[in-house]
């Protein structure tokens, strides 16, 4: 099975379809669980497979789209993604388990204003089709509430001044699996600095955020030390500092690593994955080719425009 980060998955009736997003192949790997159910649609024509791939690809983008300022990959509008998935799913309802279509339409119920903001026939057509399907399935499309702007407080404190002496510094990539999509810059490294200040040692951590940053509580582990991170309003980096034992400078380099994670989302107990850097670079490169491309999903086509 392909690595989860590069897998577009469709859970269909009696079978699972996998596409490797890094591969050009349009035909999926199919795992049949219930031959009798899957026989109803497995021999369908290419149009059905194309719609199936759209549904799976959108799920992939919702989970793994590598939004990154340093790599120039804008965040996608998740409402546009969901609208496209819902319309594609409804077109192949005979391939999907019962109530999948209703579920995708429900997830897209707040997409109308996002579609209305996109000029052109493609968005208008999608909006019209979405409205029709929602009515047929008893889903009421909603106007979203105005976004809450409660957290406008500025990040406390400025950069440290004066008597600090930098002892050590370094960077570590952020493991995508430890944070939700769109919270941390997918391509930038988190950085750490050990300072001596007034006779004691502190570690300072800075984690670049994704563009259009979605917010989730973040924390970091530096060697044995847990560092709480503050997220400023806007896209600025998440930062934090914590005292460290002076002996931290004596740790082997392999243990002076920084692990960034979202405590509500993941448990930072994963072993390092040697394949991750190359795989993630390839996914970021893929995303760069998709942004602005007319053949991509509407969300990718209009992203960053």
């Amino acid at each position: 099975m392909t690595h989860p980060e590069r897998t577009a998955l469709l859970l269909a009736r009696g079978a699972t379809l996998h596409w490797d997003v890094l591969s050009d192949s349009a035909s999926p790997t199919t795992t049949v669980h219930d031959p009798a159910l899957a026989a109803d649609w497995l021999d369908d024509d290419p149009d059905v497979l194309a719609a199936a791939r759209t549904v799976a690809y959108v799920e992939w983008a919702l989970a793994w789209w590598p939004a990154s300022t340093v790599a120039g990959v804008p965040q996608l509008d998740r409402r546009l993604l969901r609208a496209e998935a819902a319309v594609a799913a409804a077109g192949i309802d005979h391939v999907l388990d019962e109530d999948t279509v209703t579920g995708t339409l429900w997830a897209a119920r707040d997409a109308v204003p996002a579609l209305a903001a996109v000029p052109g026939a493609r968005a208008a057509g999608l909006a019209a089709r979405l409205a029709e399907l929602a009515e047929d399935n008893g889903i009421v499309l909603t106007e979203p509430a105005a976004p809450a702007r409660a957290d406008l407080a500025l990040a406390a404190g400025g950069p440290p001044v004066g008597r600090d002496v930098v002892v050590l510094r370094g960077t570590s990539p952020v493991d995508w699996a430890l944070v939700p999509q769109g919270v941390v810059d997918a391509a930038a490294h988190a950085s750490w600095t050990v300072l001596r200040r007034d006779g004691s040692s502190v570690v300072e951590v800075s984690v670049p955020r994704a563009p259009g940053a979605r917010r989730a509580g973040l924390a970091a582990r530096f060697g044995p030390v847990e560092v709480a991170l503050d997220l400023p309003a806007g896209d600025g980096p998440a930062t934090g500092r914590a005292p460290v034992p002076d002996a931290v400078v004596l740790l082997p380099a392999g243990e002076r690593t920084l692990t960034v994670y979202a405590p509500d989302f993941a448990v930072p107990d994963r072993l390092p994955d040697p394949d991750a850097p190359a795989r993630r670079a390839a996914i970021v490169a893929l995303a760069r080719t998709r942004v602005g491309s007319p053949g991509a999903t509407l969300a990718e086509y209009v992203a960053g425009a």
Binding site: P4, D44, A63, G91, D93, H94, D97, P147, A216
Partner: protein
């Protein structure tokens, strides 16, 4: 793509869905409102109209699910073609009924679920919509949504707590308490249960029912902690239920700890109020029976589900256990692909974490609720639906967990 497929030696068959698609494509644009973008009849068109009202496999066994043999294939296409005018009229009626719904400002319910069969009925009685069609459509919408004579949860609560009834119902509830079977005298599992687990063959189901294999398998529930281990109770040993005077969908107790009110209030809503006293008496009777279920077929299903789901906790040892286990193992990969929260993470509610880490308990709980609901509505478990039920319950548990993990993810990520 629609070529014949050989399934049995010497018999040419065609997948049923492929035949339906071929027959459907001959009906033309007139059935577009019943069709998906791939040109297939909507799943609900098949489920609500074609199967029960046009093809009727009960009367025409040759049209039943799966593969259709050559001789029946032509019949099937001809049957759908013959229904073409009615189906096209159904589509026209559906558009009118939908417009009437919009005009009436109604948003609840699934329109296809609510109106498809009514529209087919209109098509067969009225033909295509005529001069008075708008009025007829408005009447249908009004009728479907008139809730005047439907039973509500509040009716049930009032009935159970009415002093005029409570005394008698309490007496019945006490009388229903059959002597608890002695675990030491448990005659042991029926060998048919083991045979089912190995082969997955459901043909022996009626024999298991006749042998009371379900009731026999319930004796262990009286042992300390057994029902709790199955997720069916929070008590060391379940105690007989009360009538109850309040119920909320949100924090329902474990199935065997539910009051009569809590057992019935979601299931009976919408049924005929005249049946209420009988519904309550049947439920009271159930509470005293093995597994607290009224039909032996349900109890046998509980025993089969209990044993088939053991492979979710331990290395599976039989075909049935492996089948459930492989579905569950697949789900771990699905969670990673969808980048869902780790069940051990702080943002995942405790109840959800417990359901994922103790999936067998979640499974047996839902299986009981399904079987109970089926009994209350008067349905019964049949051998040919057995595996769909046992597997379908796990599927439903998995989908529910996935939805709850998605909801947990939505909560922990805030859009700026």
């Amino acid at each position: 793509m629609l070529g014949p497929v050989s399934v049995l030696p010497g018999e040419r068959t065609v997948p049923r869905a492929a035949l339906l698609a071929r027959a459907w494509s001959l009906l033309g644009d007139g059935v577009a409102p019943l069709t998906n973008a791939a040109g297939r009849p909507l799943a609900r068109t098949v489920k609500l109209i074609l199967d029960p009202l046009v093809l009727r496999p009960v009367l025409n066994p040759g049209f039943a699910a799966g593969a259709v043999s050559g001789a029946h294939a032509d019949d099937l296409v001809a049957t759908i073609t013959a229904a073409g005018p009615a189906l096209r009229a159904t589509a026209e009626w559906y558009l009118l009924v939908k417009r009437a719904r919009r005009r009436a400002g109604i948003t609840e319910g699934h329109p296809q679920d609510l109106y498809f069969q009514r529209c087919f009925e209109l098509a067969t009685t009225h033909g295509r919509p005529g001069a008075d069609a708008e009025r007829v459509a408005a009447d249908v919408v009004e009728e479907v949504h008139a809730g005047a004579s439907r039973l509500t949860a509040e009716d049930l609560r009032r009935y159970l707590t009415d002093p005029a009834n409570a005394g008698e119902l309490d007496r019945l509830l006490r009388a229903a308490r059959h002597p608890v079977p002695d675990p030491a005298r448990d005659p042991g599992p029926d060998p048919g249960v083991a045979a089912f687990l190995v082969s997955g063959d459901t043909a022996g189901f009626p024999a298991l029912v006749a042998a009371n294999a379900g009731s026999r398998g319930a004796a262990e529930l009286a042992g300390p902690g057994v029902a709790r281990g199955y997720g069916l109770s929070d008590r060391t040993v379940p105690v007989p239920p009360e009538l109850g005077d309040r119920a909320s969908k949100r924090d329902l107790p474990r199935p065997l700890d539910r009051s009569v009110l809590e057992r019935l209030f979601t299931t009976v809503t919408g049924s005929d109020p005249a049946g209420l006293p009988a519904l309550v008496r049947r439920e009271i009777d159930r509470t005293g029976r093995a597994w607290q279920l009224g039909e032996e077929a349900s109890r046998v299903t509980m025993v089969l589900g209990r044993d088939a789901s053991a492979g979710l906790e331990h290395e599976p040892t039989s075909g049935a256990q492996r089948r459930l286990r492989s579905r569950w193992d697949r789900e771990a990969y699905v969670h990673r692909v969808l980048r869902l929260p780790d069940p051990a993470a702080a943002g995942v509610p405790e109840a959800l974490r417990a359901d994922i880490l103790g999936v067998r308990r979640a499974y047996l709980r839902r299986l009981w609720v399904r079987l109970h609901g089926r009994e209350v509505r008067g349905g019964e478990v049949t051998a040919d639906a057995l595996w769909d039920l046992l597997d379908g319950v796990l599927r439903s548990v998995i989908l529910d967990q996935r939805d709850r993990l998605r909801a947990a993810l939505e909560r922990l990520v805030a859009a700026r």
